[in-house]
Symmetry: C2
Amino acid sequence: MPEVTSGAALAPLLLQAVERAGLALEDGDVFVLAQKIVSKAEGRQVKLVDVVPSARALELAAVTGKDARMVELILRESREVLRAKRGVIIVEHRLGFVMASAGIDQSNVPYAEGECALLLPENPQASATRLRDALREATGHDVAVVINDSFGRAWRNGVTGTAIGVAGIPALVDMRGRSDREGRALQVTEIAAADEVAAAASLVMGQADESVPAVLVRGFPYARREASVDELIRARAEDLFR
Amino acid sequence: MPEVTSGAALAPLLLQAVERAGLALEDGDVFVLAQKIVSKAEGRQVKLVDVVPSARALELAAVTGKDARMVELILRESREVLRAKRGVIIVEHRLGFVMASAGIDQSNVPYAEGECALLLPENPQASATRLRDALREATGHDVAVVINDSFGRAWRNGVTGTAIGVAGIPALVDMRGRSDREGRALQVTEIAAADEVAAAASLVMGQADESVPAVLVRGFPYARREASVDELIRARAEDLFR
């Protein structure tokens, strides 16, 4: 795909890439998109020179060693700071995701207008739904869309691809009522299928090579349905680790 | 694959399945195995009738509503209980994994000798390494092995496939020193590649259908090297959520 810039329509870019690859879309195909291209298309770059850090941002910047303007953006994008220490700020993003730095990235953002940060899409769930609708309108096919970002985990090193927007496939697959070969009820009752798709696509995307910002996944194994990424967000009342 | 029983040699079973599928192994192929078949092959079933709960197990059983004998097994397999509430026990497994119920499963375990639980392999890292060696000896190919279990996450609903043993591919891929298209150092510096492979394979395995207990992954995108699942375990000193 070409470099995605602010205002770009992603559906035609994806369909051109599919055509160039000699593929034909099928019902049930899942497009996994890197968060970065969705954010760029939506003009979510912020020039750091325009950001004035609050007192709280200055305080957190001192604790973490981060640029106070970046911290200011993190705070604006968050409901709550869960942890802060040298080099790390873990927040609850305003959309409910618990993640580092509110998903704000300084890499892969063009320098042209001075140093920039790239925020998550305003509403990645809505972005996924809109893109799915546009793809259906253009092709007649019922394709799904997952928007993928790299998340750290509480107790494991490294990041894995994780869904921040899900349209057209279940985010969570409910296995209740299903039983194993001996007829016992399954103990694992919910599978975060959209996160597994995001992780699988991340392997193909890599991290350094933005020339693979979208992956077409064929063969999603669970029944399709209307869904939302909100299914994946653990309710505060059930959160044991805050 | 046929039902795996205690003492089974997994390498020949895997190679027979590959042959039946009409495939030929290649260097760099990755076998992802469900933890259950590795545990079964290693005879890690425990008859609950033989388990005598300790005072602490009885106490935790009262708090959680779980079978005290299951709780006893969880405690024996763990270094520390992080959280316990109705229906949930989160521990640090003796191998360092933070997970629910020490990975002990009651489903998919034959009833024949009374109610059984299935523990994780004694040392899944060693199991992965042994299996990789056996596959190399049998085929001459340098294949990798990942042992996969379903883990919950602190702030997200549902489980995803996660590596508990990794041989022949990096568990963690270090991106430090790599830069993006604008020449900036990447902010995401470590990718939990083995967890992404495990998650991808989980999609194919599903949960209910144990007839897909192993998945052959071709095209792992990062350079192979000797590695261990320990790379993925966050050091206690760096754990912000305990």
